[in-house]
């Protein structure tokens, strides 16, 4: 058609994602998080310099989906592995991708110390308040009263205590340079999440210290609700328990991000 118009591609699947079908459940926000990380790596042009460390959890096969070098860590140990990789290859971009069990339960020691050391790595923390891969047990971030297979009558705070707010804890450490919480429950929040991920990888490039983006995520299968309802659960139940915001921002970063 000769109207002087051309068809442009406005959005296409990022190159940092391999052209494969993933094993994640339909509607699972792991897919969104993977896509955002891949878009950021593409936009920064660092795909070939990037090394990822996969967790034990639903994202155990993350290395099959990202078009970057990857290591598989033992459960919770990804930050320690990432430390080993980064210390000997400081010019590389090193990131971990961890769930709530991997990061906040068994890996609590490792994440504390990687933030305390100010390790120049980027941590992508997927918080969906449950253990997905093993079939729906309680996570450290499971909400009071939330039913899981190891809290079948609802999480009783008298027995199991309260959810851990990891951003708040890690932000207290001097080595932490950028610690923020975002959400993946709707399009505007996904866009903000992407900006935060970009910032977290830039912080690494600038060598400012530890960077982590916590992403409130869904688990339709183990929450027992449909994908859209699961996103609504994030908005109505998880946001109050895990407030969005910037918990630590290194002074060297000029950011237009406010809370939320």
């Amino acid at each position: 058609m000769d109207t002087g118009m051309v068809e442009q591609i406005v959005y296409a699947r990022p190159e940092s994602l391999l052209p494969v079908h993933t094993h994640y459940c339909p509607g699972c926000t792991h897919g969104v998080a993977h896509r955002l990380v891949a878009e950021v790596l593409d936009e920064m042009g660092v795909r070939q310099e990037t090394i990822g460390v996969a967790p034990v959890g639903c994202a155990v096969f993350a290395y099959n989906y990202f078009n970057v070098d990857f290591a598989e860590a033992a459960h919770g140990r990804a930050p320690a592995m990432a430390t080993g990789i980064k210390r000997v290859s400081p010019d590389k971009i090193v990131f971990t991708y961890q769930g709530d069990g991997d990061l906040a339960s068994i890996g609590a020691g490792e994440i504390l110390h990687v933030a305390g050391r100010g390790e120049a790595i980027t941590v992508v923390f997927i918080n969906n308040a449950i253990y997905g891969m093993t079939g729906g047990q309680m996570a450290p971030t499971t909400l009071p009263g939330q039913r899981t297979t190891s809290t079948p009558t609802g999480r009783d705070v008298e027995v199991h205590g309260f959810p851990l707010r990891m951003c708040e804890v890690l932000a207290e450490l001097d080595g932490a340079a950028y610690v923020v919480r975002r959400s993946l429950h709707d399009v505007p929040h996904i866009r903000k999440a992407k900006k935060a991920l970009r910032q977290a990888f830039e912080v690494q490039r600038m060598g400012l210290g530890f960077a982590m983006v916590e992403l409130l995520s869904s688990c339709p299968t183990n929450w027992g609700i449909a994908p859209q309802e699961a996103l609504n659960f994030i908005e109505t139940r998880m946001l109050p328990a895990f407030p969005l915001g910037d918990y630590k921002v290194h002074p060297a970063i000029a950011t237009a991000e406010g809370r939320g």
Partner: protein
Amino acid sequence: MAKGRITIDETLCKGCELCTSVCPKALIHMSMDRFTPKGYHPASLIDGESACTGCAICSVICPEAAITVYRWAPARAALEAA
């Protein structure tokens, strides 16, 4: 004709339906009459009125990065953008 269009890769789409609820013009629908190779009902663009603007909001929510978004733009603007 429409300002934009999308294609949904049916080898990737898992029929999660999230795109159907974010499209501002409600142009995406589930095709309940067929299955993808993996056995899901895929989503697809049904745009008889040529209403799609290529806003790409659907591609933001898609967990599978299955959506490619196209938009018609003036040739000169396209050259400058390139």
